[in-house]
Symmetry: D2
Subunit: 358 residues, 4 copies
């Protein structure tokens, strides 16, 4: 990596400052620009002491050959034009979730990137936390046995978004985590969604997703903008161990329980007798402290340098989009199960990716 990868951050709003900070701190990256139509806002983000250039023109930034890559933190509706322009200018792209405002838009981006041999990576930040990396290991290595159910709760008093409902705002986190930790050959096949808008905001502020996986397992996601109490809990029930992730428990985020109920093969007539219960120890693995976005930037730099797909590549973004679109259809249809589009690509490069990140 003799020459650092020149990068521009596009968008100086809520998430942009985090991209700026982490791009600056990542070896192998050289931050060239912060680009925003509102150049005053961009200057405020950089502060009074920065040598990074501000630009109000995406075209100018993309025209600069010192820019090899672009990190996009603009509203979802603009992802298609911005990312497309970047790809067409030959730049690698890191894009905030969701990949695009629709599956079709997202597919166009993925194809554009593939046809040009450019990296297209999703900023599925949680996937790069030490917690999810360990969870991914526990699930994919078989340590917890086969997955029996998943349950995720992500609720707090959150900003009612002007353009998307709570499912599109929050559930991408859960869906991208499921995508990263489950085996490559397991995918979400059907979705049932319920939602409500008790404050008259004009879109669902409380949402429930029931996901049917290709191996028959059910997963559930509860997202909520109106809860005064912040809860971020995910349970991954396995046939050998069950993992509980409480993201607000600073001292013990992950708990691996040797507890559960099993069906023991035996006399079919006496159903009750053949359930056995384990009540063993609980282990809280030691996890390193690391800012997730640092890992995102490192993976982005490494996937460009090594000319390989990143862990959260465009296809992972498409899989999340496919589920969100099915969820919206279910919500509109009163909660009935809606089949999720079959997204090509999952698993094709999974193992290589796993090693790259570990």
């Amino acid at each position: 990596m003799d020459q650092p990868i020149g990068i521009a951050v596009v968008g100086a709003g809520y998430w942009g400052p985090n991209l700026v900070r982490n791009a600056q701190a990542t070896p192998g990256l050289k931050l060239r620009y912060l680009c925003d139509l509102d150049t005053e806002r961009a200057r405020r983000v950089l502060g009074d002491y920065s040598t990074v250039r501000v630009s109000g023109s995406l075209d100018d930034v993309l025209a600069d050959p010192a820019v090899d890559a672009v990190a996009i933190a603009t509203p979802a509706a603009t992802h298609l034009p911005v990312a497309l322009a970047a790809l067409r200018a030959g730049k690698h792209v890191l894009v905030e979730k969701p990949l695009a405002a629709s599956y079709e838009d997202g597919l166009e981006l993925v194809r554009e990137a593939e046809s040009r041999g450019l990296t297209l990576m999703l900023d599925h930040t949680f996937v790069y936390t030490p917690t999810v990396q360990h969870l991914r290991h526990l699930v994919r290595s078989g340590e917890i046995g086969s997955v029996q159910y998943l349950d995720s709760v992500r609720i707090n008093l959150g900003l009612v978004q002007p353009d998307v409902d709570v499912l599109w705002d929050l559930a991408p986190h859960d869906l991208s985590i499921f995508d990263a930790i489950l085996p490559d050959d397991v995918r979400v096949t059907r979705v049932s969604a319920h939602g409500s808008d008790p404050i008259g905001a004009g879109r669902a502020c409380v949402g429930h997703l029931t996901l049917e996986l290709s191996d028959g397992v059910l997963a559930h996601v509860h997202v909520n903008w109106l809860s005064p109490t912040k809860i971020r809990t995910m349970i991954v029930g396995g046939s050998r161990r069950t993992v509980v992730w409480d993201d607000l428990n600073m001292v013990q985020r992950l708990s691996v329980h040797d507890r559960g109920a099993d069906r023991v093969e035996g006399d079919e007539d006496r159903r009750q007798a053949i359930i056995s219960y384990r009540r063993g120890d609980t282990v809280a693995p030691a996890l390193p402290e690391k800012e997730a976005l640092r890992g995102v930037m490192q993976e982005f730099a490494a996937s460009i340098a090594e000319k390989r797909a990143p862990l959260t590549d465009g296809w992972s973004g498409l899989r999340v989009l496919a589920i969100l679109e099915a969820a919206s259809a279910s919500l509109a249809g009163g909660g009935e199960f809606v089949t999720v589009r079959d997204v090509p690509g999952r698993g094709a490069t999974g193992l290589a990716q796993e090693e790259a990140v570990a």
Copy 2:
């Protein structure tokens, strides 16, 4: 109340000993019998120091004029014959939830009791906790404003029941609590249920209920026998306050949050601007310590003595049964919304009941 009410407990299994203990400790009640086909088991429950009589014959017990009332803690499938026999013998009846194995059976019991002028009461234990009593006050007095959503999670590593699924086993708690705290004119109109049986137990071990209330509010219930972690949380979101009940938080079960999002009437074009957020104090009300089942027994004795309907009367049991039957139909139908039977009677005596308990 010159003469104490003679009572017999029927069923010496899991719940019976609790009924025995609380019946003995309740002024106004005189425990005459513990009745179980397995008289040895009944004797073990009473221990070596008790003057209470054991009987293996329900007929004998019901024939004893010293028995005015019967508390039934037998399997749900037997509630109809046992309770019917008791009512026909002129005894008041307290019955463990659910009221009966089906709505039709339950209705038969309610009508029998009404026609004879006897008390038929459900042992909806949670309703008699100081926590639910206070929650009922907060909701029904309007202190939290109008209810916007309800969310209940009741999960732990529980016994896989031989006869019922997790919805019928655990959700009656949540449904009876909703029934007790919501205003009289609000009822559950439709139910969508999802469930899974990941261990091959032969019935749903993980269940999700989405309930539509008559005022358009959505409520959600998550019940789970397979979780290694015990969670018992209910959130009641209101337009003025939101209440979070964490039943495992010994030092602060109820938290009343002056936090939330509101839609402010105003310029319809600028949707985002008209959501306002409150981030005020949180109050944890002081609650007395009191065993809930003691309150159940006191209400049973009082409703008999005062010849009035108890707070959790037969109709409340029927309303819970109607929801459970709709949930089972939804589960069988793949999660579609199923209309809940319209149960007569709700609200007819609600206010009087409230005062009686407070």
Copy 3:
């Protein structure tokens, strides 16, 4: 154990009912009397359904040859005359902590019991919890390495006792736990005590004990009647593991941390470099649910039947008394270290006891 051991409970106040309940439930014991000067109170404790006899006369109870043993739950000031009378009547004695109001009184009881070959056991209830039993195993087996420090916090809003200060009321719990878990050859040599009486109650309501152990280790105990928040935490720091016991954490009472700082032997000149830090996993061992007082009663019955010293014998009670007396002297002297009386007997029968309980 052909013939059950006849037992009488003396004292129907705060703790007596628990002794009554557990004596009745323990195989091998036969509860004969509940004895209290206030026979009405004793009758209320037994309730309306008990075959146990009430007596207002200790003499009568002690004269009954069907009474083999006595469990005493009277105020500490009366322990000497009541227990002495029981021992002189040839009865085995279980006595609530503290053993007596003074070391001299306690020693008289121990000698009386020894000279008569009778069991004298302290109701150091916490020692019989599964938690302390496991903690005892972790410490004494060497699994946590050598003990480096102990810290116990036992604070809540508690009743200001009329006769004793907070040290005598609460610290016996901590001191008896230390006594049970530490190796036999380690004892408390010196005590420094601070206390305050901010509400003018006439005795210390907040207390701090600093204990010096014979191996140089320091232990600290904080007891407090005035805290609105209940905290019951004990930390046992070891050279290999550190155990944190949070008694109010229902789902994870014990946490065994493979975390700590160690001094590595090496270059003495560079002090900082030779401290190494472990940040390994945390294990929460699965512990059975068991009422501690049941274990107390079982040990009492077993020690009588097997004619052996109980785990918490009179000497353990004396060791606690010796520390309390030194603490009172330190408190009176302004917090200076006071040497603890050397109590004979510790360790003589320790290993045998450990096996008996396990």
Copy 4:
């Protein structure tokens, strides 16, 4: 504040980067230099994108007239020469705790600053958290009544410092908080300290301070480098309310309990009867989120601009030093109470400061 205050940060070690970041973000301040003998380290702290100058020469920095103020984050032993040089060069000084390595050194700094009319401020960071600001209000306004006891626990697995023991490393936080929240006329008069060094680090790694206040109240501080579990709890018991501060409870840092025990004036003979217990509601006040160090920088800039003493002025640093020296003397003397030096100045400007910060 037409012209921003030019500031240099001295010391690019553990704390320096935080000073750099917050100095840059504070209006009214203009960061001119990061100064460290190790200029490479200083450059790494600033990163590749900064316009701030690096200097390896304190003399050069102090000679620059564009530098009006200096923030010092060097080891405590160097505070005297560095701060003295800065003051003599006419610069205002913000210094990391403790003020100096000894009371005498600290006093020299305070006098130097006073004689020159320069601001000398302590970076007692916690004092500027919204939590402590609110706690200060609750105590000083009388809302909690008169303070009856204070108890602070600050334990975790922390770095064994090469130059100071755990009391000097951690207790300054607690002592400066006490100093900020207590009324001006209350001060610490005597200290008893116990400590232990179970890992052979060469200095106390576990420490307990018992502080006697001038109004007779006792305060206790437990600091510990060896605890695998992080606990940061402070209890301020008042005659009307008791405040519990759990700094690791993200959702409820402060709890104001209307709970406690009071002595009621009355019949002196019946001591027990005259204690009354309150068990009222608990209120968790809404507190803003704000980085404490931002508040430090703002107060530093404001006190310079307004030519007034900062909230945590040199005298507050001296008061903390006086207690630490007394604690060290007590530790050396086996835990006996040692009288704390009487520090002039406390309270002279307190009320003005309070308003300035609020």
